[in-house]
């Protein structure tokens, strides 16, 4: 039995990170309240521990899985085994939220609220981190990562569609706004996606044209850099007046949706924020094309256009896609601000929730935003890896 028993399922010793996860999970489930019940949406809540919040069968199941899973996390188990343990705990926590909500909701009670409490959130976050750690150790390829993301989205979608979590307070909040939610979700996604698409359509050509001219290049990047420092709320607000003026003064502009209220200021502001990262990534990607490759492309008789399309842009593609990943994630987050200036989007719920002091409503806006941003990041990271595929190992 040599020291190299990485193939073994269990190795002697304790995994420091895994032990931290196990300790946090144990602490959050044993010492902190799992769920909160409130008589109505804005009343103060009462915390309930796992064993009082869940039906006895679920307590046994959760207890059993945790008792089996924690030692696997803490000891030096093989990565697939750790991942399975973490995923099982994560899945069971998701199920527990639904079970507890059903268990704690009195039949016919339409005002009472059941929501996850500190213990659930901490355990859920820890289990999610443990799953992430398990995945990081296994290093799945881009295709597999996209498949896992699709699986996760599919499973969550199925649970939402079947009404499994319907007694949770966030979904109670959703139930009273189901008509507007769909619309605001779409507005949010469309704002983020179209502003990034427009930024790519403007920023990439601008960067290509400005890059060879030092003065233009510095000017372009410096100007866009200043835009980045304007706080988002102010930029959204500053655009209202000029866009309202354009909407009134320019014939046909109003028909295109250009107006001081609505989505137009939000779109323009998001576009402005997205331009710098896209343009800077394009410049950096093109700069990184090795000199011999550039020289060879000229030397074999390619025209400027052929060099750009066949050699320089394909080699800069991973860098450009990385820039697009950054702005898409950034704009999904910033689009929340649109809710403050009448632009719609999930920010509507966030800011309504804040003004009504209704945490559940804040969550209704914030959770989908976080999910969308993280999902976009995972998806685009995988796409960047795929685009790197062929030129992965650059010739030194």
């Amino acid at each position: 039995m040599g020291g190299h028993s990485a193939t073994g399922l269990l190795r002697p010793g304790v995994d420091p990170l895994g032990s931290a996860f196990a300790a946090l999970l144990g602490l959050s489930l044993l010492a902190l309240p799992l769920m909160t019940t409130r008589p109505n949406r804005i009343a103060a809540g009462t915390g309930l521990t796992a064993w009082s919040a869940l039906p006895s069968g679920a307590v046994l199941l959760l207890g059993g899985v945790v008792a089996l899973g924690l030692p696997l996390l803490a000891l030096r188990a093989a990565p697939p085994l750790r991942l399975a343990a973490a995923a099982a705990i994560l899945l069971l926590l998701g199920l527990s939220a639904g079970w507890a909500a059903d268990h704690l909701t009195l039949p016919g009670d339409r005002y009472g609220r059941v929501s996850p409490d500190a213990g659930w959130w901490l355990a859920f976050a820890t289990a999610a981190l443990a799953v992430g750690d398990g995945l990081a150790r296994l290093r799945p390829g881009p295709i597999l990562r996209i498949a896992l993301l699709a699986l996760l989205v599919g499973a969550t979608g199925l649970a939402l569609r079947t009404g499994f979590w319907n007694n949770l307070s966030v979904l109670r909040e959703y139930a009273s706004r189901s008509d507007t939610f769909g619309r605001e979700l779409r507005t949010h996604a469309v704002l983020a996606l179209t502003s990034v698409a427009a930024a790519a359509a403007l920023g990439i050509p601008a960067a290509i044209l400005a890059r060879p001219v030092p003065a233009l290049r510095t000017g372009l990047l410096a100007t866009l850099n200043v835009v980045q420092t304007i706080p988002s709320m102010a930029l959204f607000g500053m655009l209202i007046a000029p866009l309202a003026w354009i909407g009134r003064a320019v014939p046909g502009a109003a028909a295109l949706g250009i107006a001081g209220i609505g989505a137009a200021p939000a779109f323009v502001a998001l576009l402005a924020y997205a331009l710098l990262p896209v343009a800077a990534a394009t410049v950096a990607g093109l700069d990184a094309v090795p000199w011999p490759v550039r020289d060879a492309a000229r030397g074999v008789g390619m025209t400027a256009r052929q060099r750009l399309l066949q050699v320089e842009l394909p080699l800069a593609l991973p860098a450009i896609l990385t820039g697009i990943r950054i702005v898409l994630v950034q704009n999904i987050g910033l689009a929340v601000i649109a809710g403050l200036v009448g632009g719609g989007g999930l920010g509507v719920f966030v800011f309504q929730g804040i003004s009504q002091n209704a945490g559940d409503l804040v969550l209704l806006g914030a959770l989908p935003t976080v999910a969308m941003a993280t999902g976009a990041a995972v998806l685009l990271d995988a796409v960047v890896d795929l685009s790197r595929g062929r030129a992965a190992e650059r010739v030194p």
């Binding site: 995994d15 420091p16 990170l17 500190a118 981190l129 992430g132 750690d133 990081a136 150790r137 510095t218 990047l221 410096a222 850099n225 200043v226 980045q228 420092t229 304007i230 706080p231 988002s232 709320m233 102010a234 930029l235 607000g237 500053m238 209202i240 007046a241 994630v329 950034q330 999904i332 987050g333 910033l334 929340v336 601000i337 403050l340 200036v341 920010g347 966030v350 800011f351 929730g353 804040i354 002091n357 945490g359 804040v362 969550l363 806006g365 914030a366 935003t369 976080v370 941003a373 993280t374 976009a376 990041a377 995972v378 990271d381």
Partner: protein, 247 residues
């Protein structure tokens, strides 16, 4: 932008100072943006007070975040922490996808209204870029250099304090700059949860349709961000020169 002559930065600083101390002098400039006969300059709270609060909030958050993040990065690059490194890196990467507004909104149900949730959101959001750049700085050092430091008989502690941290300092500073600039903009959103920052001016402008207020708040925050960015870049260049990198 950072290459603008020092005189331009001094002028911007002076302009900002005069505006914050005596905003009334600039009233004619903002008059066209104020609807009807509403006052063109925000007067509920003095702009100077708000700017100072804003800066204090961001400074406190950034310093706290820097202390925690650099500590974590140092721990993750010690031999005992090496196993944790890939995990820490992916957490930092995914964590940065959490939108600042969402972090702030999620902190409210837990910490209530006021400066506290804003501070917490700013610390959490500042942690990640500083951690990531500090990690890059500490992890990217030439192994031959580390060998040489060991070969000269430096203890682990001496190596960290005299070799690793000074060499990683430019990277760490760039992370802190990023966190501070993001924090300046994010702190304005703190006013939606009743934190006293320059965001108060912007929100008041949005609520009353007074573009003059929106402009005032936005321009002051922008100017602060530009000045802080330039200041940090200056310090970074100095640190890079001392670390022997060509700037």
């Amino acid at each position: 932008m950072s290459r603008a002559p020092p005189l331009a930065w001094a002028a911007l600083l002076a302009l900002l100072g005069v505006f914050l101390v005596a905003p009334g002098r600039f009233a004619p400039l903002f008059q066209p943006f104020a609807p009807g006969d509403t006052p063109p300059i925000y007067a509920q709270t003095p702009l100077l007070t708000l700017a100072v609060n804003h800066l204090l909030l961001v400074a406190a958050a950034t310093l706290t975040a820097a202390a925690i993040a650099v500590g974590l990065a140092v721990a993750a690059t010690r031999p005992a922490g090496r196993d944790v490194l890939p995990f820490a890196r992916s957490v930092a990467r995914i964590g940065q996808t959490f939108p600042p507004v969402a972090v702030l909104a999620l902190a409210v149900p837990i910490f209530g209204f006021g400066a506290v949730p804003t501070l917490i959101a700013l610390v959490l959001y500042g942690l990640l870029p500083i951690f990531e750049t500090a990690l890059t700085g500490l992890d990217g050092l030439d192994p031959a250099l580390m060998e040489a430091a060991r070969g000269m008989g430096m203890t682990d502690r001496q190596r960290l304090l005299r070799v690793e941290l000074p060499l990683a300092l430019p990277m760490i500073l760039s992370g802190i700059r990023l966190a501070a600039v993001i924090g300046l903009a994010t702190a304005t959103i703190g006013s939606t949860v009743a934190a006293s920052t320059l965001g108060e001016v912007i929100i008041s402008g949005l609520l009353t349709g007074n573009t003059a207020y929106v402009l005032q708040g936005g321009l002051v925050v922008s100017a602060l961000a530009l000045l802080i960015d330039a200041g940090f870049r200056h310090v970074e260049r100095g640190a890079a020169r001392r670390a022997g990198f060509r700037s």
